[in-house]
Symmetry: C2
Subunit: 308 residues, 2 copies
C-alpha cells in the first residue's frame, strides 16, 4: 500500500505594519522556512498578501501609492532570498502577494516547487469589500477598488505527490470555490487570509469571525474530501486587528492542527492523502450522487431571484 | 420596524419499529402537535419518512412488500387525524413520507398550512446508499433501489411570513442544495433525516456522524443567511441505531436549539427572519460577490475529472 502524504508547514505571520519593508518580512519568512526544515516539512504555506500590511484597509487616491504595494515580477529583489533559501532547503512554498500584471491588478497566490520554480498561480476571484471610500467606517475594505477579479479560474495541479489547489481568504466562504476544485479531484487546498476581527458592515461579535472562518474551512474539506491548509496574517497591524486561527483541516472536516498565537508561528502536520478517498469514494462520490440537472441556478443567475 | 418571525417546533421522533403501525405513530405526532400548541408554535417540523421505520435498511424482493411502506394519497386514513388536529389547533406542519405516485416512488416532504392545505411538496434529489443487495453488510441502505430521484427541483414558497424551502436528509450534505434555495432568497430550510449511527461504507467513529450532520446544517445556514430546521428520527429501531441531534440553526451558522434525547422530543425556537438579512446584504450578497463564470464545472460535469 502506498502511503502518500505531504508534511505541511502552515506559516502564520504576525502583524506587518505600514513601516515594515518587504526585506524585514522576508527575513521572518526565512526563519519560518528554516523551522519548517527542522520539522522535516515538505511545503510551507504563507498567508495572503504576505509581503506587506493589509493595505486594502487604507483609502489611497494616488494610484502610484497603491501600486507601491504590488509586485511587478516574482521573484524580485525583495523575495529572491526567500526563493533561494527555499531551494537550498529543498522546500516548496505557497505565497500570497499583490500582483501588478499587464492584464490587471490581482490578489495572487503562487505555488513554488522544491527547485524554486513557480508551478502554479491563482488570482483571487471572490473579492470582498467595497470600491467606494467610506470615511465614516473605522477602516476600509477596498479589495473591490484595488484588485481586478481573478481570471485564471480555480485550477488544480499534480504536485507534491497529490492534487493540490489554491484559493484566497474570502474565497473560502463560498462553497463553489471548493466544489470546483473538488470536481477536479483536489486533495489539498491551500489558502492565506487577512480577516479583520471587526466587521465593518454589520454588528457581529469577534468570536463569530473565528467561527465563520473555521466553519467554512471545515465544510469545504468535508464536502469535498480534501485537506485544507489556511495560513493567517494575524494580530494588530498599526492598531487594526486581524484574526489568527491558522488551521490544517482533515478531509473528515475536523481540525487536525491549529495555531495558538497571533504572531509568526509554524504549525506542522503530516497530511495523509489517502484519507481523502474514503469520502471521495463513498458519501461524496460525485459521479454516483450529484444531480447537476437540478443545480442550474448556480451558474444561470448571480444574485437572488425571489419567488412571486 | 416589522419583526417577522416563525416560532418553530422541531419535532424529533424516537424509534419506530417494524411492528409499529402508522396509527400509533400518528398518535405520537398528535401529542407533539399539542405540545407545540402549548408552546405557542406556528409550524411543526416532523422527520423524513416519519410514518414508518426506516425501511431502506431492509432488502425486500417483493415489490408489494416495498410498496406497503408507501402512501398513495395524502392525507389518507392513517394521517387524516394528524391533518385534522393540526387544522383544529391552527398549526402548520412539515411531514416526510414515502410517496407512491403515478410518476414514481419518491422520498417526499410536504408543507401544510394552518388550514390543513398542502401548499408545498419536495421530492428528495440526493438519494444516498446503493441499489444492490449487500448481504455482507450489517444492514442495507437501499434508497437508490426503492426511490426515484426527485423531479421537482428545490423550490421555495412564500409561507408563514417568510420564504421557506425543504430538503431531505442526505441533501443537507450537498452545498448545492442550500445554494439553489439561497438563490431564491430562502429564509428557512426545513428537513427531516434518518441517519444511521454506523457507516456501512467505511470505518468511522459514531461522533463523526453527528459532527458531519451539524457541520452540514451550519455551513448551509451561514453560507446562505438562512435558518435551518432539522428533525431526526432517532434511537434504536429494532436494534438499528439512528443519530438524534435535531437542531435549529441560525443564519449565523450557530446552533440556536438542539434536542437532548433520542426519543420523541419537541424543540421550540422563535426564528426571527430579519436576522437573515445581515448576511444576505453583506458577506453573502450574491449579486455583488458571486462569480458564476468560474462555476461552470458545477453543472457541466457530474463526477470528478482529474488533471492530466
Amino acid at each position: 500500500m502506498s502511503e502518500r502524504s505531504i508534511r505541511i508547514a502552515c506559516a502564520q505571520l504576525g502583524p506587518i505594519h505600514l513601516a515594515d519593508d518587504r526585506s524585514a518580512v522576508v527575513e521572518r519568512m526565512i526563519a519560518l522556512l528554516r523551522e519548517a526544515k527542522r520539522s522535516d516539512g515538505d511545503l510551507v504555506v504563507f498567508p495572503e498578501l504576505a509581503l506587506t500590511t493589509f493595505f486594502p484597509r487604507y483609502f489611497m487616491k494616488d494610484q502610484n501609492e497603491v501600486d507601491g504595494f504590488f509586485e511587478t515580477e516574482m521573484p524580485n529583489d525583495a523575495t529572491a532570498p526567500l526563493f533561494a533559501e527555499a531551494k537550498r532547503l529543498g522546500l516548496g512554498f505557497h505565497l500570497g502577494y499583490a500582483e501588478l500584471a499587464p492584464d490587471g491588478h490581482f490578489n495572487t497566490a503562487i505555488l513554488v516547487d522544491r527547485g524554486g520554480r513557480i508551478i502554479g498561480k491563482y488570482r483571487k476571484i471572490h473579492l470582498p469589500g467595497h470600491s467606494d471610500h467610506r470615511p465614516e467606517a473605522p477602516f476600509q475594505h477596498l479589495e473591490k477598488r484595488y484588485f481586478d477579479v481573478g481570471n485564471l479560474g480555480f485550477p488544480v495541479w499534480r504536485a507534491f505527490g497529490g492534487i493540490v489547489g489554491m484559493c484566497i481568504c474570502n474565497d473560502r466562504r463560498w462553497p463553489e470555490t471548493f466544489r470546483v476544485m473538488g470536481l477536479q479531484g483536489v486533495e489539498m487546498v491551500m489558502l492565506g487570509y487577512n480577516t479583520p476581527e471587526h466587521n465593518i458592515y454589520h454588528d457581529e461579535p469577534a468570536h463569530r469571525r473565528m467561527f465563520h472562518h473555521l466553519l467554512s474551512l471545515q465544510a469545504g474539506a468535508y464536502q469535498n474530501g480534501t485537506w485544507v491548509v489556511a495560513a493567517a496574517k494575524a494580530g494588530s497591524e498599526d492598531g487594526h486587528v486581524l484574526i489568527g486561527g491558522s488551521a490544517i483541516v482533515a478531509p473528515t472536516g475536523e481540525i487536525a492542527a491549529r495555531a495558538q498565537s497571533a504572531e509568526d508561528e509554524l504549525v506542522v502536520y503530516e497530511c495523509g492523502l489517502d484519507a481523502c478517498s474514503d469520502f471521495k469514494r463513498n458519501v461524496f462520490n460525485f459521479d454516483k450522487h450529484r444531480r447537476p440537472e437540478h443545480y442550474g441556478r448556480i451558474v444561470e443567475q448571480t444574485g437572488v431571484i425571489e419567488p412571486d
